[in-house]
């Protein structure tokens, strides 16, 4: 069929079989449906310009253009469906791929992204993001956590404690995300739980982005005195974003329990062959 979907008893994720990209998430338990387009983009890192000599670097995020470029507008996909997992393998490029998966009984979509080594042969430093675009009317507001506990409301080009003269429309709206970032239209909430601290923002209504990897060619003149540029071919980074679509009323319970399980994840230890009885004495 033209429409490709993975589902379990709670969630259905639908993909555009032409582009291979995610195009809708449904919460069947709460009969919620949200068109969500997710893809990877990269900001061209600034090395200084007419306005300011400030380059993007280890301390500084400063893209040279407001709009990021898509890693690819489509993905090569492979579908796996078994009793214990349904997943779509997406390959955007040689250095960017993702697995979107659903396990039985799970109320969130798991996006396992693999990014790197970031190519810099074009002499452009790249700051790679995963971006979720939806039609939600979020009125320039979004929410990020502070060290996994307090949730802070963020407003585009605005600071709560002083009159902001916004000189960096992108970087000036990026905030630290330790465990989660979300957007809401008052009825539905789209939450993305991270497995590590990242920078994140919502630069236009209904959109939500998280920075997953960077590879830069200039130093930002803040003391490190070397660019954020891994030696050799560069590093490959793999991580997970857990995506929750829920009603606003029970979103907090969902993401708080999910984050606890993510931060205090079960640990696996293996042992080969047989074991022998053991008594401390």
């Amino acid at each position: 069929s033209h429409v490709l979907a993975i589902e379990n008893e709670y969630i259905r994720a639908t993909f555009d079989s032409d582009t291979g990209l995610l195009m809708k998430i449904e919460n069947m338990e709460q009969t919620l449906s949200l068109p969500v387009s997710q893809g990877f983009f990269w900001y061209n890192a600034s090395t200084g310009d007419k306005i300011s000599s400030q380059a993007s670097g280890a301390y500084i995020f400063r893209p040279s253009h407001l709009k990021p470029l898509p890693v690819s507008r489509w993905a090569q996909i492979h579908l796996v469906k078994t009793a214990l997992v349904q997943e779509v393998h997406q390959k955007f490029s040689a250095w960017c791929s993702q697995v979107i998966r659903l396990y039985p009984g799970q109320r969130h979509l798991e996006l396992e992204w693999t990014v790197g080594p970031i190519p810099v042969k074009d002499n452009l430093g790249k700051e790679v993001i995963s971006r979720f675009d939806t039609p939600m009317k979020t009125k320039g507001k979004f929410y990020t956590d502070s060290n996994g506990r307090e949730i802070l409301k963020r407003r585009l080009d605005y600071r709560h404690t002083w009159r902001l003269n916004q000189t960096e429309p992108v970087a000036g709206n990026y905030y630290p995300v330790n465990t989660r970032i979300y957007i809401s239209d008052g009825h539905m909430q789209l939450t993305v739980v991270t497995d590590r601290s990242q920078g994140g923002s919502s630069l236009k209504d209904g959109s939500l982005e998280l920075m997953v990897h960077r590879r830069l060619l200039a130093d930002d003149d803040r003391g490190v005195a070397e660019p954020l540029l891994e030696s050799g071919t560069g590093s490959t980074v793999q991580g997970r974003h857990l995506v929750l679509l829920s009603s606003v009323s029970d979103a907090a319970a969902r993401h708080r329990l999910l984050v606890e399980k993510e931060v205090l994840a079960p640990q696996v230890v293996l042992a080969e062959g047989e074991s022998s009885p053991y008594y401390s004495q």
Partner: protein, 172 residues
């Protein structure tokens, strides 16, 4: 005997803002990684001793440090191994265990010796290289506790009987 002090020390050093925010020079980052890795070893002995005491079973424990990139010699090469899943949360969790394996049929038994459903699925990154597989099974782990699952690989004597095995299973 194990020791968690070296890892404590390494984590104390890594409270520096350079370590927390990644604003260190490459050689400093490499040294942070070295200190962490050096701290793991004595900690793994400590955890092994703790698990042996708690489970009253002495096992040849193996910590697959590269499980996140699907590398784990024990699950990829052994015919029979135990999987201990520890849950640090104060509530029971259901956790999907995913281990890299070589191709084949596996039986997974829970702590009560009951066979639990398991799947072997193709891993995405293996399209270009020779096929690689993940074994999946769902583990139920008590609050602040652990569960030990045993995995046995069914070595079909030859592909023919392997397919017969699956067919007969289906017919049965």
């Amino acid at each position: 005997s194990g020791d968690s002090a070296p890892l404590n020390e390494a984590m104390a050093v890594l409270q520096h803002h350079d370590a927390v925010s990644g604003t260190a020079r490459q050689n400093v980052v490499n040294d942070y990684a070295r200190q962490l890795a050096a701290g793991w070893e004595p900690c793994e002995v400590l955890v092994s001793n703790a698990l042996a005491q708690l489970s009253r079973q002495k096992q040849n424990f193996s910590f697959c440090r590269e499980l996140n990139i699907s590398i784990c010699p024990v699950s990829q090469k052994s015919q029979h191994f135990q999987v201990t899943v520890y849950n640090p949360l104060g509530r029971k969790v259901q956790h999907m265990v995913r281990l890299p394996v070589s191709e084949g049929l596996f039986f997974v038994k829970d702590p009560n010796g009951k066979t639990v459903p398991s799947n072997v699925v193709l891993r995405p990154s293996s399209y270009s290289k020779r096929y690689q597989w993940d074994l999946l099974f769902s583990a139920s782990v008590p609050a602040l506790g652990f569960s030990i699952y045993s995995v046995a690989k069914v070595t079909a004597p030859n592909p023919q009987s392997y397919s017969l095995l699956t067919r007969s299973k289906k017919s049965r």
